[in-house]
């Protein structure tokens, strides 16, 4: 039984199917879903463009901790919080436009560094349980954030703008209008093809980050991180400060997540003061995993494949589900079911692919050995 499956997997066309199983399945699904959903192609492209520009940065922030062997960084939520604090301040001071956004970045960077440093230290103490700990840490920090923003602002930190301050005199309202910086980056370099607005500047920023990450991999620090990621002991023997390197990777990730969240919210145009950040980690990680990354290995193509596949599902599935099931609410459940089901399924496929690759390799080695022995 086992042997048979192995010979089969050596067949190149089957191998191709296995290697690209996830994208193929997604393409088939989408091909069915788009006509079913009744959405126009134009809408679809516009929506996908927006989602790419909105989410890529946040997902890119996950790459560096994976490099350092810390798995998926659920504590990017902390970075998102830092970014939101920056946005609260600029909204209070009524600083608008690109300069408002830059000022928000400037204010939130030190906060993100601090939070990232804290998260790094905590995660260092929880080696092997980084992901679960990161998850809990996000919950914990959410409490601190709430304390700071809902009870501290207006009481300890002066806030004067009545449009974000609750009428009781302290605490920030549940939602904040970011009209002042709404889509300032997206529309900085205006380019319209047909009816579709292309956020050139945002894509440029994302491209810059990609270049930075590629460059970073080659630096001394990047090399160190990869060594740490592969084996802590080896890294220690070769004179790398393992703890420090791990903390640094989380700090960088947190700061990037902070910028990512600001980028995300400038596109959305409104901010949910207490909830916007909560699920940032879960969604970014889901998209990255769909893109073919694993807990131990993730690269830039994974990010973009992930965004496209994951968000296509999210755009198309609700209406397609509704058309398929006949009832609106069933459509919503159907969307969640398909979206997450597909994630689980594609993860299973990736894992399967990994195993096939391993077995093929083993077989190659065996053949090689055999040929040597035959000689």
């Amino acid at each position: 039984m086992r042997k048979k499956s192995l010979t089969k997997t050596m067949n190149p066309s089957v191998l191709f199917l296995i290697n690209y199983a996830v994208p193929i399945i997604f393409i088939i699904l989408i091909a069915f879903a788009i006509p079913l959903s009744g959405l126009s192609g134009l809408y679809f492209i516009r929506e996908l463009m927006i989602r790419l520009s909105r989410n890529s940065f946040l997902i890119l922030a996950l790459l560096i901790p994976v490099m350092a062997g810390m798995g998926m960084n659920f504590s990017i939520v902390l970075g998102a919080m830092a970014g939101e604090i920056g946005l609260i301040f600029i909204t209070d001071w009524q600083i608008v436009g690109i300069s408002g956004m830059l000022l928000a970045i400037l204010i939130s960077t030190p906060i993100a560094v601090l939070l990232g440093y804290f998260a790094g230290i905590v995660l260092n103490r929880a080696k092997g349980r980084e992901m679960v700990t990161g998850f809990m840490l996000a919950f914990f920090m959410n409490g601190i954030y709430q304390l700071f923003v809902l009870f501290g602002m207006g009481n300890i930190i002066p806030i004067s703008n009545s449009s974000i301050l609750l009428p009781r005199g302290y605490g920030i309202r549940n939602t904040i209008n970011l009209l002042g910086i709404r889509q300032v980056l997206d529309k900085l370099i205006p380019l319209k093809i047909g009816d579709i607005l292309i956020p050139v500047a945002t894509f440029l920023v994302i491209a810059t980050l990609c270049v930075f990450i590629t460059w970073f991999r080659k630096t001394k620090l990047g090399q160190d991180m990869r060594t740490v990621g592969q084996d802590n002991e080896v890294a220690r023997v070769s004179g790398i400060n393992v703890e420090n390197t791990r903390v640094l990777s989380i700090v960088i990730s947190t700061v990037l997540a902070c910028y990512g969240q600001i980028l995300f919210l400038q596109n959305i145009g409104t901010m949910n003061t207490y909830q916007s950040h909560e699920q940032v980690g879960v969604f970014a990680i889901a998209a990255l995993l769909v893109g073919g990354a694993s807990v131990a290995k993730a690269n830039i193509p994974n990010v973009f494949i992930g965004v496209i596949l994951f968000h296509t599902m999210f755009v198309v599935a609700p209406r397609a589900g509704k058309a398929l099931m006949g009832q609106a609410q069933l459509g919503e459940y159907f969307r969640v079911f398909v979206s997450y089901g597909v994630i689980a399924f594609s993860l299973a496929l990736y894992a399967w692919r990994k195993r096939v690759e391993k077995e093929n390799e083993r077989k190659k080695i065996m053949n090689y050995r055999k040929s040597i022995l035959a000689k």
Partner: protein
């Protein structure tokens, strides 16, 4: 070591300066535009017709006699243009004024004063 400290302090100072700069150029100001009678000293300028108003090249709208409107502007230096409008046709009688606002200032502008080139056409408040 010493050099490092100097570089770091310089960097932090530079960032703070950039922050202040961004604050100044990104700050929003409210400019209230009045088309109402105004008395400056002994002279009274009275509002008589309707005007279309642009602030920083953005149209604020038509302000009738005795009405008031507000504009939100960003940054330090600004330009206001008023043009008379009669039965929905622009008459071409344009007046232009430039003004600067400090970070926490907002302003009230009076159209009749602008038309008559009075000095006190703008009232800045903190």
């Amino acid at each position: 070591m010493r050099k490092q400290i100097i570089i770091r302090t310089a960097l932090v100072t530079a960032l703070i300066l950039i922050g202040i700069f961004l604050y100044v150029i990104g700050k929003e100001h409210k400019v209230v535009i009045d088309n109402r009678d105004i008395s400056i000293g002994d002279i009274t300028y009275s509002a008589s017709t309707t005007y279309v108003v642009w602030v920083d090249n953005q149209e604020i709208g038509v302000i009738k006699k005795g009405e008031r409107n507000a504009a939100i502007v960003t940054g330090v230096s600004h330009k206001i243009v008023v043009e008379e409008i009669k039965s929905n046709v622009l008459t071409g009688e344009k007046h232009e004024k430039r003004f600067r606002l400090k970070t926490n200032e907002s302003a009230t502008v009076n159209i009749p004063a602008i038309i008559n080139n009075a000095n006190e056409w703008i009232d800045k408040t903190n």
